[in-house]
């Protein structure tokens, strides 16, 4: 993933990102930190091409997203798994169905679907809960379901937007461990977070955003200077 001189100006004139340069090599584990409104969400939207950059170049897995055809966007998104703070599970579907949904709507044949879903559920440790609905699960289990759904396409990149924001510290650690394991298996992970404790403890690469600019990019702790 590579961002070169990226600026994003919304139609209302608000500049969410200003001249951002960022290179994320394959297999990296990166924290994206910064106060609300610093541009974290915009950055994520640019990476999944929910938005396009006003200036500069966004490149994911060799594709220039600014010049990507609309038809190609779904193919890009199948190579990126996304996880949100609010899980975004479908309440009427079981854990299994929620994960399978990602394959179903991308036209995966049934015989490939079953093993892929089982593999993803095993990865997040939810094989036992496959038949339960989201409201029967704890917050941590719901987030693990969302991670399983993000992983079911075997993506090269996982983007997690505040995945622990709604979870208590102990459960948060479980989720972080899971993301670390996914990263060890070779998937690039980018996690946006407010959680200073986690960032400091892990001593991974930290990219700080503030008012739309990258204010630091280093390996190390999390200084609450915002």
């Amino acid at each position: 993933m590579r961002l070169e001189g990226v600026t994003k100006t919304y139609p209302n004139g608000k500049q969410a990102l200003i001249d951002v340069d960022l290179i994320i090599p394959e297999g990296d584990f990166l924290f994206l930190v910064g106060p609300s409104g610093a541009g974290k969400s915009t950055l994520i939207k640019l990476l999944v091409r929910d938005e396009t950059a006003s200036e500069g170049r966004v490149e994911v897995a060799g594709h220039d997203l600014g010049h990507m055809k609309k038809r190609a966007v779904p193919l890009l998104r199948r190579r990126i798994g996304i996880v949100f703070q609010d899980f975004r599970l479908l309440p009427r579907k079981t854990v299994y169905e929620n994960v399978a949904f990602a394959l179903e709507v991308t036209g995966t044949p049934r015989k490939l679907m079953v093993p892929a879903v089982e593999r993803a559920l095993a990865l997040v440790g939810l094989t036992e809960q496959a038949r339960q609905r989201p409201d029967q699960l704890s917050g941590g289990e719901q987030q693990r379901t969302a991670i399983a759904r993000a992983m079911v396409h075997d993506p090269r990149l996982i983007i997690a937007d505040e995945p622990t924001g709604n979870l208590d510290p102990l459960i948060s650690w479980e989720i972080i461990q899971l993301l670390l394991r996914i990263n060890e298996m070779g998937t690039t992970v980018m996690m946006a977070t407010h959680d200073a404790e986690v960032v400091t403890a892990l001593r991974r690469r930290v990219v700080g955003l503030e008012d739309g600019r990258v204010v630091r990019d280093e390996v190390g702790g999390y200084h609450r200077e915002y």
């Binding site: 038809r71 193919l75 890009l76 049934r110």
Partner: protein
């Protein structure tokens, strides 16, 4: 195949979840399609009546008294030679009187033949039938030019013109009313599908995030509209099926000998129009909604 199964299942689920709105949409669809069918039936009825009347139209040229027989024969031959004329029939003074008397007797009135033994007020005439009744105007002017032979020309052009005018007015009015009805149905379908889209906003968002292609996102909703149209059309046809014998009877009561009613081609025509309009409105409405509310 997978895509089709997925879309059909999603759209049926959507129809069920949003059933109140969808029933409303289907009912309006049925009402509009019934109006459409009624208009087709009425117009085809009037047209059948019109062509029946037209086929009966003849132009009469009353002749002066005391013409030489060969002049009349020559006139008849000349008329038969005209391309628009299909038949020429000569009726003598005596025959005209006899016909008149007979028609009075047929209507149950007094026989007046005896009154006219001395003086026959009727004129001999040639009755001319046309291949295309709409050409009667030209024929009438041709006949009127024959002042030496022809006394007066009796045509029924004004009556035909009125009927033709009425049919086209009826058609125009029907098209306007149907236009409004169609627009209402379209708006209701658009709204119904919009509700379905809103109800599934989260699902749509997730589909996009995990990389579903546009057809997986859109087609379930377009199919929902198509289903509303299809169900509306089927209900309409069932209602028509139940109602067609009484309508047919009523029509033949009113029209008498005019050949009206549900023949095979009219039935097929109505089926085609109703199903086509239902599917079209449903599909187009849904498509507009999807285009408008899914960016």
């Amino acid at each position: 195949m997978h895509f089709l199964r997925f879309s059909v299942r999603q759209s049926l689920q959507g129809l069920w979840r949003n059933r109140v709105m969808n029933i409303a949409a289907t009912v309006t669809m049925v009402l509009m399609l019934l109006m459409l069918a009624a208009l087709v039936i009425v117009i085809s009825g009037v047209e059948a009546g019109l062509s029946y009347v037209e086929s009966k139209v003849e132009v009469r040229a009353e002749l002066h008294d005391g013409l030489l027989e060969e002049r009349v024969l020559e006139f008849q031959e000349r008329l038969s030679g005209l391309p628009e004329v299909s038949s020429v029939n000569y009726v003598s003074k005596e025959q005209a009187l006899a016909n008149f008397s007979q028609s009075r007797v047929d209507q149950g009135q007094e026989d007046i033949t005896g009154l006219y033994t001395e003086f026959n007020p009727f004129f001999a005439y040639v009755a001319i039938e046309l291949r295309d009744p709409r050409q009667s105007r030209e024929l009438i002017s041709t006949l009127e030019a024959e002042t030496g032979l022809v006394r007066t020309v009796l045509g029924q052009q004004s009556g035909i013109d009125k009927l033709v005018g009425l049919t086209s007015q009826l058609r125009n009015l029907g098209v306007v009313v149907l236009g409004f009805a169609g627009l209402t149905v379209l708006l209701i379908v658009i709204n119904s599908i919009r509700m379905a889209l809103m109800a599934r906003a989260q699902e749509i968002e997730i589909m996009r995030l995990v990389g579903a292609s546009d057809r997986y996102v859109r087609w379930p909703f377009i199919l929902e509209g198509v289903f509303i149209g299809l169900v509306g059309a089927v209900i309409t046809l069932l209602l028509l099926l139940v109602a067609s014998p009484p309508i047919s009877d009523l029509a033949s009561d009113i029209a008498g000998s005019v050949p009206l009613g549900f023949d095979r081609s009219l039935t097929l025509q109505i089926m085609g129009i109703v199903i086509g309009a239902g599917l079209g409105l449903g599909g187009v409405g849904a498509w507009i909604s999807v285009r408008t509310y899914l960016r």
